[in-house]
């Protein structure tokens, strides 16, 4: 066996890193890359179907834009407490994090009835034609991400109110959750433009 020769002492390193020094931060980024590719491809499918259709939307009026716009506004507004919670987590301020998590849970819940309204105001069903299929698919795909992150937020609320809350790792989890929420909001913007804009362009 080779003999070890000690050339470095790592005993002073922190026991856990934040952001770019955290593995979960990179993991979240990688999953965002996967899901972002999924969104991009679905938008590509939408535009492909637009290109092969003689007219768009097929056999339906464009979707009513009001519910979708309301969702967009709520999501954009939620970025404010989301940025605040990321900062509070960085400072490891447990009280602020707890309060803001509840605010974020509320901001995550508010768009749910709006989303239901959105599906209703699409003016087309998934099995009417390809336009309906891809519209429902795109809106459904985004809703899945949004509901998943909301569920994660609820679990985080529960965790942060237990004895496990005051822990560097939990603050890191809160930061990663905030990062992912940004992703959910920012991916919505092009989807909103496609779902509500493209049927009005053609």
């Amino acid at each position: 066996m080779r003999q070890p020769r000690v050339v470095a002492d790592l005993s002073k390193l922190p026991l856990h890193g934040f952001e770019t020094a955290s593995l979960t931060w990179w993991g979240t980024l990688a999953f965002m890359l996967i899901e972002g590719t999924g969104f991009l491809l679905t938008i590509a499918v939408y535009l492909y179907l637009v290109a092969v259709a003689p007219r768009w939307p097929i056999g339906a009026p464009p979707p009513d834009w009001r519910a979708g716009t309301a969702t967009t506004l709520v999501l954009l507004l939620s970025l404010v407490p989301n940025v605040m919670i990321a900062r509070a987590a960085e400072r490891q301020d447990i009280r602020r994090v707890r309060v803001l998590l509840i605010v974020m849970a509320a901001f995550g819940t508010a768009p749910i009835p709006l989303r239901v309204l959105e599906f209703r105001s699409l003016n087309v069903l998934w099995d009417s034609n390809a336009y309906g299929s891809v519209t429902w698919f795109l809106l459904g795909l985004h809703s899945t991400h949004f509901v998943t992150d909301l569920a994660e937020t609820f679990v985080l609320v529960a965790v942060m109110f237990t004895r496990h809350g005051e822990n560097r790792r939990r603050f890191g989890d809160v930061q990663d959750n905030a990062l992912y929420w940004n992703f959910v909001v920012f991916t919505w913007l092009p989807i909103y433009a496609v779902l509500y804009g493209v049927p009005r362009l053609t």
Partner: protein, 636 residues
Amino acid sequence: MSGALEQDTRDTALPPERLACELARVWRTPPGLLGFIGTVDHKRIAHRYIATAFVFLALGGVLALAMRLQLARPEARLIGPDRYNQIFTMHGATMMFLFAVPVMEAMAVYLVPLMVGTRNIAFPRLNAFSYWIYLAGGILLWAAFAIDMGPDVGWFAYVPLSGPNYGSGKRADIWAQMITFTELAALAVAVEIVVTVLKQRAPGMSLDRIPLFVWSMLVTAFAVIGALPAIMVASTSLILDRLVGTHFYNPSEGGDVLLWQHLFWFFGHPEVYIIFLPAVGMVSTIITTFARRPVFGYLALVLSAISTGVLAFGLWVHHMFATGLPRLGESFFTASSMAIAIPNGVQIFCWLATLALGRPVLRVPMLFVLAFFFTFIIGGMTGVMVASVPLDTQVHDTYFVVAHFHYVLIGGSVFPLIGAVYYWFPKITGRMMSEYVGRWVAGLLFAGFNLTFFPMHILGLIGMPRRVYTYPASLSWGGLNLFVSMSAVVLALGFLLFFVDALRSMRGGAVAGSDPWGAPTLEWATPSPPPSYNFAYIPVVNGLYPLWDDATGVNVATGLRVDRRELIVSSVTEARPEARESSPRNSVWPFWTAIATSVVLIWSIFSPWAVVWGSVPIGIALIGWFWPKATPEDLA
């Protein structure tokens, strides 16, 4: 000798024997069933992954033999057309989704953490989850086949054949959902590899000191992340068309059948490189060790792997030349298909230069590298041929294409893989495979392969289409087909001998020692097989070939805790140490999450409500997985 350790005990506080003992205790996998399903040791999971993938290789091989038996003579009645459709679909799907991609990722799951000098893969529980999901997908496909429900629409499941109007029953759904299982598993491993390579490298292993196999796997992992979402969008929309009446692929309601081909091949072409790039890394590694000199053109090899990975996404339409696409588009994809030959050519010249300038030793792994050269170059050249639209139109869907892609896939990927198994077997098991038997294996596989597949080029040129269950005697294809079928037996014997050698050597092979080949990379700096914690001390790297730069010792870092699973997180470019991070303990929750996910995926073939109700048990399992457990790993 070992009482409970105080909190924050460091490796420097213990003598070497006690350190090994304590590390073994904190990193151990307990015996018994719970230990078996709960382990997160990347080596144990990789063992399973590799063994399972080779079982699927054998099963896929048996199907190939069944097809060759049927085609050995004209108008055979051994297998009916319906069963034959299932067999060729199962063969392709098994080899691509259950063997090739998983086995390459599994090799990386074993080797990458060792080669970058860390103690476990990033997200080890996700790794465990990935294996169970992969296994469930494989069982789903083969159980369906056993009850005559196997998919029968070809491994690329073109619509409208696989759509609701033609693909009756649940056969196409089984294919589509098997895709969901295997791609989920593959994406999980890709994320682990990306993060392990970027963030867990040994101190000092800057980007220009990363072993070439690790570079290949990093590029592969990114290709997986870019390509696999396309097939998941495709298979999900296909299931929706079949289950809830969407119209993605129904032209009468505004859908489009070519959309399927675009989505499938946007995944399917990079898939070829997802299988090939790891093999490139294996070849570079084996050549370096056996040429006994640093590889020629390290930077060129890294850049060609990256450019191959990027160009792989610009070629997909060359699978669709026969669909009548606009000519300008076809010309573009012809050009890009030829362009990818450039980085691949650069690689081959780098390898040849390494061999020419070194003192090559012809051990068994090198024989497979030579077999790879010969076979892959032929496959690459027929690839350049079919990149031309007129030629492709002529030979499309004939045995010429079958010959071409088997040359690329077996020559380009399976030969290096078998060579890699001979090369790393001593590390994984602690024992050598037989040099004598290995030479027979290499000879039988090389001869058997070329005798089986070369004549298929001719069969294709004289007009034999692929996927026909039989052919009339009057077409005079019988002689060549009989020859091909007899050669396939030689090929099968080669694989059989390989399996026998591997199984025998596992128990009876010569004891290997830590570094039997005198190789330069870090996995050889630790005992064979490696202990659960991989390295007693985290290595420190000063060059590309740490074990050649220093023939007697190995540079290490100390100061890590021994009372919890601890490893080093380092910076992306320079691998500067940033944190002493904990690595998760064993857990049975990934297993339960995989079970809950499998139930939902299979149920959703039959009812869309499965996704709604099934998300509850998945959610519970995930909470169990991630809920803090007050272990030393979590507390600090």
